[in-house]
Every structure is written in structure tokens, then in C-alpha cells.
Amino acid sequence: MATMGIAEALREGIREEMRRDPTVFCIGEDIGVKGGWGGAFTVTLGLVDEFGPERILDTPISESGFCGIAIGAAMTGMRPIADVQYGDFLFCMMDQLANQAAKMTYMAGGAVKVPLVMRAPVGSTRRGAQHAQTLEVFFTHIPGLKVVAPSTAYDAKGLLKAAVRDDNPVLMFEHKLLYGSKGNRAEKGAVSPIGEVPDEDYVVPIGKGAIRRRGRDVTIVGKLLTVYRALAAADRLAEDGIEAEVIDPRTLIPLDKEMILESVRKTHRFVVVEEDNRTHGWGAEIAAMVAEEAFWWLDGPPVRVSAPDTPPPFAPNLEELYVPSVERVVDAVRRLVG
């Protein structure tokens, strides 16, 4: 058992999978340059020393192109782990992800598989509109993709391994404020969820959520950073005698619906917290699911706490308003509990 942050946990997960399976390789920008950064957030740092530049493959700045290359490799016996420096760049490869990777198995009538992992850092970190969006929902809407979003070091390594071993394209979203608060790529305001990670091989199954805190009065669902906002809110609410249950789905597609519904049937109140834009968002889908499938257990409407319908702002004071704060979660729950 070792103690580490998410970036290190991911690195160890990649290292172990590459040792275990010679068809696993990494492809992306600035991931293996000697003297470089190991990707934008150090996840692949040093792996080139063990695996060499053929398996830690640096690409030109060609997101759509290297995504397509990873897809072609995945369809012919390899298991690529690709990454983008910022999740926003996934839009540059949208055709390859949405039209090619996601649809290939279906349009071939099940005759081909695309075991691709695409990692993407998201989250507002004072980089403004094009380097800070939380955009998982664009991909949770695409049949054929699986989407995971680990918020702890244990889950990051376990879900990475599960994603590599999955025979479908898996998008892994990582929050920039959760990589860790230390090191030369640390972010101001990082949460630093350092946790214990087993040395032995393990996976976190895709599609299984986690209850981060038990409570009887309200169910709060968050993902990535908003799990921590929800937990902090739960602590404050507990001071007033309101016990919140906090659920981290960990996998967004396929969603562990039953874990959420079971909790709602117990608490009768539901709040979802997301860093995404509100309209047609991830929270809207989760709230609709709860309304459809647990309506008769609810004592009040499903509530969303979201980012407003704006691009991520640059000014720190605006960014603090943009990302759902602990206070906003507390207020939403108080209004609901009445």
C-alpha cells in the first residue's frame, strides 16, 4: 500500500498495464519528451525511460489525427492510451470520437472493437474559456462511448486499468484541481485527494458508483471536483443536523443508476452538483432520471446546482461564481429540506 495523488496513481496504473500487456501504449502530445513534462499534468512523466519512445509516442499537435491513429491501432490489435493536454481539445477530434470510435462497432454489426482509452483533464483553473471547460456531457450523450471520472487516487488507478482492459472506447476525465497540490504542475486551490493505493493489481469496475458519505436526509450526487464540494457542504449541513448522503458515480456511462435511486428512496430529496453548464446538462439528465424513476419517493423537486450558461470565465472572482461553491450546495439543500 502506497500513498499517492491522482497523477501518480494514473502513472502507476499505466506503467503496470504496459508491463502486463505489450499491446498497451501511450500516444499524445508532449508525453515522453526527455526533459519535458510527461503530458500537460505529469501523468506520463518518466514512463519513456522504461518503455521507450515507441510505446510512449509523442505526436505533433494534431489532435484529430492522432485520435484517428489511435482508433486504427485499436481496431487492429493494440490498446492505446491517448490523451489530450486539455479536455477542451477533444472538440478538435470530435469527428474521430463521435463518428468513428463510438460508432464503429455498431455500424460493423458488432464485427470490430475499438479498445481505446482517451484521457482528458477538465475543470476551471484560471485558464479562461478554452482551457478550463468541464465537458463530459458532450460525450455521455454519445452511444458507444464509456465515460469515467475518478475523483480519488484509488479510483484513478483502478478505473484506468479497467478502461485499458475494456474492449470499447473509454473516455477518462480527470480534474485539474484533483491531480495534487504539490509539484511543478500543481494548481492553486487544488484539493489534493491523496489516498492509499494498493501495490497489488486491482480494478475499479466500470459502472459502479461509490457512496462517499452516508446520510438520511438528502442525496447529493457530484462528480470530480464537485464530489468534494458536496462533502464539504455535507459537513456544514451536519452542524445543523441535516445528514446528507454523497454519491460519486465514478463512471458516468454506464451510470450506476440503482445506487442513486436506492439512496433517493431512503432520503426523499435529491440534489446534483456539476461544474458543467446548466442547460441540457449532465445534471439535467440525472435529475430527469430521478424524477422518472423515483418520483413517488420524492418530497420535493430534483435540484441542480450547476455552472451558469457561460464559458468558463478568466477573472478569479468570476470563476469562483462559476464553479458551484460549497455555499451554493448548502443553500440548495437548506431550501429543499426547508
Partner: protein, 333 residues
Amino acid sequence: MNAANADGLQSSVPREADLIALYRTMLLIRRFEERCNALFLQGRIPSTLHLYIGQEAVAAGVCSALRADDWVVGTHRPHGHALAKGVSPRVIMAELMAKVTGCCRGKGGSMHVGDVRKGVFPAVAIVGAGLPIAAGAALSARMRGTDQVAVAFHGEGAANEGDWHEALNMAAIWKLPVLFVCENNLYGASTHFSKAFAIPRVSDRACAYGMPGETVDGNDVVAVHDAALRAVERARSGAGPTLLECLTYRQCGHSRSDACDYRPDEEEALWKERDPLKVAAARIRALVPPVPFDPSGIEADVAAEIDDAIAFAEESPAPAPEDLERHVYWEGD
């Protein structure tokens, strides 16, 4: 093995049997497409069709330079690519008729025909998107230590997509075993080459990426085959990718609803004179010494194969309702 071809040039397809086999492949594609057109007009094939009529020499010439285990990525106009690479007319026709016995279980349709057992990816119908995927298959071949080669067919319109440039660049810097076959049929949908390019040849762009580029007569199956063979050997030997531009012409519309009013009649007539089947037949007849060549026998043989494919497709069932939600994710071999 080499002998003089019709132009007196050295050719790698000199043997009469090989040239006649190429002729047969081309005729199979031509007649298959003509029958598809008729079936479409009769309402027996749903959707739309992008027919390969006029371009048969490209698919036949390139695929005859490949091994069975090499990879091909086709386009929205993929029937010819699949037939030339050995996909059975039965499973293609069944796919076009939306039957569960089709090569994609009736879930792909005309624009996605393929059969990975024959080395043909489900065709990629987004213009240009197939090039990186073929480059990825080539990268995979190198990483897995095979000497397979990948081919990305594409129209000249694809050369103005970003994926085209990204794929050529990465294939060149990594010397990937891939062949980019540009079927320049003069029109991207209805837009003439001259309105989309400020250069005379697509292959002129190859040097910008540090790879050889070559333009050949795409209606001459021997010219295509010879150039493809050189490129394939180059790729297999580890020397890297090639951009091969084949000048050709689609003798039909872009898709089923296209009457081609944007093309001059004289231009269409000129290209029909240079029909790839006529060119191939002339090459066979010019072989010295003369060889037995029975076009009507080949015609009958091809017709029987297509009749069989249509009968197979018509007798096959449509996908079951529960197929709608299957195969979104991989279900296993």
C-alpha cells in the same frame, strides 16, 4: 516475370491470367454497381447509393497489389474497394438490402460496407477521416511486428480536410507502412477540382510532408497496379508512406439523386471513351503473344455471381427488432 505491356513499358502484371483476373474484378464491380442501381430504382435497396462506376481500375489495381492480410479503409463510395479486396458480393448485397446476413448485419448500409476478415474496415463515410485510421492500422502493424500494409482510399475532396494533412504528416515522420490512394475523379460532390485546389495535382502535396507522390492514369488498371505495387513494397520494406493520385472519373452522379448537370457533356463523353474496362480489354488484346480472351464468358460468369448474391440477399431476413440496441458496445467474438 515482367513482360512488355501495351505501351512497351515494363509491367508487373504481364501474365495474361493476372490481367484477365483484373479485368474480371473490374467487370464484377461494374455489373454489381449497375445491378445495385436497378435494384435501387425498383425500391429493393433503401437509402442512397454512391456508385463506383468508372473508377473500377483504382480499386482493382491497388487491391491486387495487396496481401490478404493487408488492410483497406474505404469511403462513402466503398463497394468497389470491398469487392476488389475479396469481400463476397453476397454479404455486400445483403448489407445494401438491409439484411441481417449483410457484412454489417444490416446496420452499416452502403456507406459502411466492410469485412475485417478480408482486411476491409467498415468504410468511413466522413470525408478524410479514414486516413488517420489507416495510418493507425499501419502503426499497429509495426508495433505488433507484422509486415502488413494499410491503404486509405479517398477522393480528392478529402485532401482539403484537416485529417488528411495530419495523417500524411504523422505517417511520414514515423515512416508508417501506409498507402494513401487519392481517387481524383475531378469533382468533390458537384465542386470541380479547379475550384478547390490552386495546384494542378494532389500529389504535388506529398513533398510537403516528405513522402513520394505520384500521379497515374487511374483508368488504366496496369498503371495503377504498378504504381501501387511500388508503393506497397516501399511501405513493407520500412521506407514509409506514399501518396498515389489516380486520375479517374465517376461515370454516374455523386449519389442517387445527382443528374450531373454541372458537368459538360463533352467531358463525360471523353472519359467514357477512356472507360477503364475498354482500356483493360485493349491491354489484354495487345499482349504479345496473343492470349485467349473471352469477354462474354467472363460477363456470364460475373452475372451468375451477382445473381447468386441478389438471391442470397433477397432470401435473407431483416435484422430482428432486438438488433436495434445490440452492438452499441462490443459483445465478444
